[in-house]
Amino acid sequence: METFLEEVNKRIDGVPLQSCYHCRKCTAGCPAAPYMEYNPNKVIKMIQNGEREKVLNSSTIWLCLSCETCITRCPNKVDIARMMDVLRQMAIESGIGAKEKNVLKFHEAFLAGIRRGGRINEPMMMAEYKLKSLDLFSDVLLAPGMFLKGKLALLSPRTKDMKSVKDIFEKTRQL
């Protein structure tokens, strides 16, 4: 059986996480670190310790903004941003789901929007997110102003060849 570390390394398919010597440059530059349960470099240590459940069930992996500051500054080129993607995907696949439920619900609503029209229609996507998250009242005061300024168009052009878009979703589901 693969260890947690081996599994994550294989999926990152780059510099192994063991190359990290905990200089904490990633954490120092991470704009989301103040809000995270565990700092980015701590997550690497936890993976090495085999703390699978704790890592996959942490808020950290969902609060990562993918700003890529960590990989940019890492002296050993450990791809922490990619590691966060891998951990999110492992949390979904393993059925653990997302500690930050609304972050995943937003992603689901966004992807459902692409699947529906090939392009994102923002009002439709927001409506779907609100129904999924039941976060019905935040930002409702922004919406009327945005409509008046023409920023929210109920009808927007869609991709014509929708079969090609739907095929991408179907085929990548089984990969």
Partner: protein
């Protein structure tokens, strides 16, 4: 010059000012745009956060569509630009992934066209001197800080943006328009991106910090090249901290005296027109 143009979803909705001003600036600078045929969404953060293959395939579909026109593709949205560069990076570096993704998309990826953001095209193809020579109205009194954000710059091996820790192209461009560009340490900080909707409080904290830093630097506005940064900076700061936010293309079209240039300013959530009237720029 003629380039393919990939607007992306934001530029047809919350970022429509960027699309309109981008087209106006391109006309004024002699850049001919041809929209990518039947494009679809790049997948943005939501695809790469949840399914790697999906993220590469959604971007690859558009790159393959753009390749039909065999020209460089201009991608104004920083998020789309980043996803396209990331897809190109993986498809060129991993043969087995390329074969798999071509099977998913149902077409071959050649990798023969350059993916470019408009800052790079205007700075390197048109040039700062040529831009300055076309200025009809100096932006005197405007004191912007340049805000590049994340997705144009990082990771540097993928984005290939000049001087990624202290970029200067926007600063020089704004200087060429007669603006008094202020230096600051937050050029490449993150605005909070897609957490804006699902974790709003975090994003408010992040943009408040940016607004305070911009004021400390002596700025009276912020200039950006990303529709996500624009949305967060324009809408999310706390009361009393807001500043006018401009797409760099809006300021170029204003300085070049493009007819109807102030039109896009009407749809900003925080109205930048009082500042511009005060400075007698509109």
């Amino acid at each position: 010059m003629k380039v393919s143009y990939y607007p992306g979803c934001s530029l047809h909705a919350t970022g429509k000012e960027y699309d309109e001003s981008m087209k106006a600036v391109s006309r004024a600078l002699g850049i001919e745009l041809k929209e990518v045929e039947d494009w679809s969404c790049c997948g943005a953060s939501s695809a790469h956060s949840t399914n790697f293959d999906l993220s590469i395939a959604l971007s690859a579909r558009n790159l393959i569509a753009a390749e039909k026109d065999a020209m460089d593709v201009m991608v104004p949205c920083a998020a789309c630009f980043n996803r396209f560069k990331m897809a190109e990076h993986h498809l060129k570096g991993d043969k087995s992934l390329k074969t798999k993704i071509e099977g998913v998309v149902g077409a071959k990826y050649q990798g023969g066209i350059a993916i470019r953001n408009p800052i790079d095209i205007i700075y390197n193809e048109i040039g700062i001197d040529a831009l300055a020579a076309k200025v009809k109205k100096q932006l005197t009194g405007l004191k912007p800080v340049s805000y590049y954000g994340c997705l144009l710059l990082r990771p540097p091996e993928v984005c290939e943006f000049e001087d990624y820790e202290n970029p200067f192209m926007l600063d020089k461009m704004m200087g060429a328009l007669g603006a008094d560009v202020k230096n600051w340490s937050y050029k490449t900080d993150c605005c909070g991106g897609s957490l804006s909707i699902s974790k709003t409080k975090i994003v408010v904290n992040m943009v408040d910090k940016l607004m305070k830093a911009a004021r400390e630097a002596g700025a009276n506005c912020v200039v950006t090249a990303c529709p996500l940064c624009m949305a967060n900076l324009d809408m999310r700061p706390s009361k009393g901290l807001k500043l006018p936010i401009f797409y760099f293309t809006e300021l170029i079209s204003l300085a070049l005296g493009v007819e109807g240039a102030p039109e896009t300013l009407k749809s900003h959530m925080f109205d930048p027109r009082p500042l511009l009237s005060e400075l007698k720029l509109i």
